[in-house]
Amino acid sequence: MTSPLLAVRDLRVRFATEGGVVKAVDGVSFDVERGRTLGIVGESGSGKSVTNLTLLGLHNPARTTVEGSAVLDGTELVGASERTLRDLRGQRVSMVFQDPLTALSPYYTVGAQIVETYRRHTGAGRREALDRAIEMLDRVGIPQAARRAREYPHLFSGGMRQRAMIAMALVCEPDLLIADEPTTALDVTVQAQILDLLGELQAQLGTAIILVTHDLGVVADVADEVLVMYAGRAVELGPATRVLETPKHPYTRGLLASVPRLSDPLDRPLRPVPGAPPSLLAPPPGCAFHPRCDQVIAGPGSPCRTRAPVLVGVGDSGHEAACHLEAGAGAAGVGSAERERERAQVPDAREGGKNP
């Protein structure tokens, strides 16, 4: 029972926008163990990307409030100085983004960008760093690595760019790799190559991975643990097989039922989740999912409409869900969440309109 590599506790992120305060992340807690893969699943606006960007301090500090705690191997990340974070980024924690063309600089060769990262953290000489960069490019499966290291990103195909990004992210052999939709822009055959590559490198280097995705199939293939997010909150957390095979939260169940799969019987009807995700400017009171939920507890004073549910254990092996149906009616209230709710702005009329 050693401490986890990354322990996030009650993380809260708020943005000041023209329309009011957006609670992008609203009290999320999770652990990432060494060498394991955590899949974070959610739709756009669920807070899955923001959670990770704020861990690395990649948010606009003028408009963002971050509260809570995120401890990476003894170092507190929330509120850490820019200097501390700069030493961590690229060395202890790296990130791979969805679109490698915007993440790579068009003005520098691919090799130079990897060399820069390596020299910044190791103080290696130019020659040594270039050798290391070529070795990494070779390792991620880029043919003729020595020649390609002298080329600019625009000469690389989408899949090759993502490989180059991974080479850059792993050049210092970080403890944690955050991959934010790393394969979403790629074709399925290339996606499969990249996911295989991440798995191989993880096995060789012992890197822990946070994989942010909207694709439940990707999660099923690569994640050990899964965190499902909705409207800035964690709705379900647990071992991937448990969450995907015996989902306990109505939203997770809804997501799984709405996605066609190759293993389905040919005429399985799709059961969509009705409605659309809520505006984070004015999330619904109580459970944010209740307006779309088919199992809302009826009656006046229903906990679904008045109190935000917290994650509670369901069954064994660390499977948790944030649903009043699982918690039973007598679960303890969540004071702090309700206190913040008073800051919520006037509902945005068009988001509240009819949406069958």
Partner: protein, 339 residues
């Protein structure tokens, strides 16, 4: 019911070559052969899925069928009538019957027009006067796609992505089409919204008898929605079959690779699908490989694949299942071949 025997849409030998990049001497070097001779038949009310990786020509095919692009060669027949190079005037009555739904619900709606105006336009352009008036018809359309008819005077920015895609679908329905070409209609939408839109399209198909050419990269969505599936690679059709045959008994190595690359894929019989990993990327369509275009990434490639283009031929047991491969075989034997 139709007196003529001709299928709704019949495409033969369709090609589209875009001019290639200029060389140093400002000469055109080669051409991008985006669509390189494909045959396709769509019967009334049928749904055909076009799948393949980016650059395989599936979207170009859709735009050729709707005549948003001018074909370089081949023929397109709509109900027997050759529309390959029909003039604007000749096309006018047919445009109402072949409509398109686009991928991006943000850029495909004019932000300066109201929803009512957007949905009225097809009626105005085609001089359609429905009983009860055009305004009433627009309200009906909004209701059909699950939007509030009171939203007539709103602008596109007031709607979410899923709602905008419903507006795009309503616009395609306005003129009473027989065929809708839907180019990645759900890939820009959130997961929980995708199923809503797929179900809407399925309802329209059933209730209105509209045929679909459904272009998508998501093989599971195509399997759910389409009767027949056509797999394309570098501008050519490599395999086409009824969906049951294609997903359970594919014979082309590229189809095997595509299916096994789908995350969370489970093969026939419920087990984990044998992983077939393609190496490298799709070659450039400016200078595609000789013979079979797929041979450079195919583990079965032999000498003949470099010299002879494999014709699209029907399998002995199933005339509706056609494969363009010199060595077609089901996936089981393939797994043992793989090193």
């Amino acid at each position: 019911m139709s007196t003529s025997e001709a299928p709704l849409l019949e495409v033969a030998g369709l090609t589209k070559h875009f001019p290639g990049p200029r060389s140093l001497l400002r000469r055109r070097v080669g051409a991008v052969r985006a669509v390189d001779g494909i045959d396709l038949t769509v019967e009334a009310g049928e749904s055909i899925g076009l799948v393949g990786e980016s650059g395989c020509g599936k979207s170009t095919t859709g735009r050729l069928i709707t005549r948003l692009l001018e074909p370089s060669g081949g023929t397109i027949r709509y109900r027997g009538q050759d529309i390959t190079h029909a003039s604007r005037r000749e096309l006018a009555p047919i445009r109402a019957q072949i409509q398109m739904v686009f991928q991006d619900p943000y850029s495909s709606l004019n932000p300066r027009h109201t929803i009512g105006g957007i949905l009225r336009a097809p009626l105005d352009v085609n001089n359609i006067d429905p009983p009860g008036g055009r305004r009433e018809r627009v309200r009906e359309l909004l209701d059909t796609v699950g939007l509030n008819p009171e939203h007539y005077n709103r602008f596109p920015h007031e709607f979410s992505g899923g709602q905008r895609q419903r507006i795009g679908i309503a616009r395609a329905l306005a003129a009473g089409p027989k065929l809708i070409v839907a180019d990645e209609p759900v890939s820009a939408l959130d997961v929980s919204i995708q199923a809503q839109v797929i179900n809407l399209l399925a309802d329209l198909r059933r209730d209105l008898g509209i045929a679909f050419v459904f272009i998508a990269h998501d093989l599971a969505v195509v399997r759910h929605f389409c009767d027949r599936v056509v797999v394309m690679y570098l501008g050519r059709v490599v395999e086409s079959a009824e969906r049951g045959a294609l997903y359970e008994d594919a014979h082309h190595p590229y189809t095997h690779a595509l299916l096994s690359a789908v995350p969370g894929a489970v093969g026939p019989g419920g087990g984990r699908r044998e992983r077939i990993r393609l190496t490298g990327d799709v070659p450039s369509p400016i200078n595609p490989p000789s013979g079979c275009h797929f041979r450079t990434r195919c583990h079965k490639a032999r000498d003949v694949c470099a010299t002879t283009v494999p014709p699209l031929t029907a399998l002995a047991g199933d005339p509706g299942h056609r494969v363009a491969c010199h060595f077609p075989s089901p996936a089981e034997t393939l797994a043992s071949v793989r090193g």
